[in-house]
Amino acid sequence: MLLMAENLSKEFFKGRLNKSRIRAVDGVSFSINQGEIMGLVGESGSGKSTVGRLLLLLLEPTEGRIYFNGKELTRLRKKELQNLRKDMQIIFQHPQESLNPRMKIYESMAEPIRLYGLADGKSREKEEILKLLETVGLTEEHLERYPHELSGGQAQRVAIARVLALKPKFVVADEPTSMLDVSVQAQILKLIKKLQREYKISFLFISHDLEVVRAISDRIAIMQKGKIVELGEPEQIFSMPRHPYTKYLINSILNL
């Protein structure tokens, strides 16, 4: 078992004057095995993105513990957490925005490599980058471009290649395809499946689109207002939904 979240909660404070607190994530527990894709589905505002960021400690959890490879993350000192960062990465919803607009694609790709010294020397670095680009289906001519000169699909591939450079064990995919067209979405989903198969990377696939999650996940968690209301295999969820909210979500699918 790669990762386990236990009774994870997060409260946000709204407005300086009225000290009202919103409990965006409320006692969420689940576990993800090595090489497994866990789908996390819910309407916007259900707290699914917050869960993703809590797992990577991009947000401080108010309560709860996160075990990664047996180590409890919230207890780790800064240094220890630092080298664990390599194994846990994230890809975002807006491809163009997840790359530094002032850096050429080559620079963005080289960042992770240089940060952890994964390739010594310029030529080794370029070689490594080209290998990564090839895995995600891009070519050398994309290296000299800026993020705004790429299409949505291409930018998302660069983001995935960047993450791949660190050879992570676990990746949070926060609605990676919701801004993309259907055909481009299919290419990215195909790529994620390939990374799961060939590199044994496990994913937390966050989305509001039940059909996409059903197609790609090994297990699905349904989230409503900060709580996981149902968890199970896709077929089981779709054939015998137990929780009323799950039924409600399934009925609102507009299939052909």
């Binding site: 259907v182 299919a186 689109d209 052909l256």
Partner: protein, 332 residues
């Protein structure tokens, strides 16, 4: 699914009283950008029959929204439009500015794309709808206001009198969509152009918008040009579907026919890349409109492409009574 059947039954009765509402012949919309000509819409022809909903499907950058705005002549100054736009026999492109303004909002209406930025933030919701009503009907103010309130209640906006005085920032996304809908149907137009009504919406909101569009169209009996990238929305609402790629229509036909047996490889590819159909993607990416490939614009990504496809440019060919395809090597 219930919704799909009703759409198809409607198209049978509508076909009988077939009187063409809008006919587009070889429409070309070009833009001059930094000295180069960009063909956003390139030689498009299609017909919309009275009371019919035509789904215009295509991915980002295929020119579908530009087509919608061309019909209403709402494009920036550096746009050039050629061809014919016959609306109930009148040629839209030769109308004067004043005549065009009488047409907009009265005969042909646009329901814009993102509701959150399509309402004037400094003006009360009611006034923005009232504006359209007063512009086209010389009603007394009180009559116009009551018409707006009645529209609001028809579109299930709670306590219309209060909503009338609310400002856009006080409404949710769904409510703003309803207000734009009300603005659209305020003067019971002949043709409603709906631009990407479900873009970026949750599944739940999406189905709500689809229901609203269904009620509005069937209630008023108006025809609709539904511009979307979402196949299932088009399937649920449209009687006929036209698929656009790189500024051209590549396939057009009855909804059931196009969905059941798509004849153009791109349409087939799109349908197969849906999550429900196992997300097998179309290789490559859609070409930028500035540098279009030779011959058939889809040939670089088409598994069925042959010599002919790369050499010459296919025309839109009529397969049977109501099915058109732009391809030399049609699928079966």
């Amino acid at each position: 699914m219930v919704l799909v059947q009703t759409a198809m039954e409607n198209s049978e009765q509508k076909a009988k009283t077939a009187e063409t509402l809008l006919e587009i012949r070889n429409l070309k919309t070009y833009f001059k950008i930094n000295g180069s000509i960009v063909k956003a819409v390139d030689n498009v022809s299609l017909k919309i029959i009275n009371g019919e909903i035509l789904g215009l499907i295509g991915e980002t950058g295929c020119g579908k929204s530009v087509l919608g705005l061309s019909i209403l002549r709402l494009l920036p100054e550096n746009a050039k439009i050629e061809g014919n736009l016959l609306f109930r026999g009148k040629e839209i492109l030769s109308l004067s500015k004043a005549e065009m303004r009488k047409l907009r909002g009265k005969e042909i209406v646009l329901i814009p794309q993102n509701p959150s930025t399509s309402l004037n933030p400094l003006m009360q919701i009611g006034c923005q709808v009232l504006e359209a009503v007063i512009r086209h009907h010389n009603l007394k103010k009180s009559e116009a206001v009551s018409k707006v309130l009645d529209l609001f209640s028809k579109l299930k906006l709670q306590e219309p009198p209060r909503k009338f005085r609310d400002f856009p920032h006080q409404l949710s996304g769904g409510m703003k969509q309803r207000v734009l809908m009300a603005m659209g149907v305020a003067c019971n137009p002949k043709l409603i152009i709906v631009d990407e009504p479900t873009k970026g919406l949750d599944a739940v909101l999406r189905i709500e918008v689809v229901r609203m569009l269904k009620e509005t169209a069937s209630a008023a009996g108006t025809s609709m040009l539904l511009i979307t990238h979402d196949f299932s929305v088009a399937a649920a609402l449209a009687h006929r579907i036209a698929v656009m790629y790189a500024g051209e229509i590549v396939e057009m036909g009855k909804t059931a026919a196009v969905l059941r047996n798509p004849r153009h490889p791109y349409t087939a590819g799109l349908l197969n890349s849906l999550p429900g159909k196992g997300f097998n993607p179309i290789p490559g990416s859609s070409p930028s409109i500035i540098s279009l490939p030779e011959g058939c614009r889809f040939h670089p990504r088409c598994s069925r492409a042959n010599m002919k496809c790369t050499a010459s440019h296919p025309e839109l060919v009529k397969l049977n009574d109501d099915h058109f395809v732009r391809c030399f090597n049609v699928c079966f």
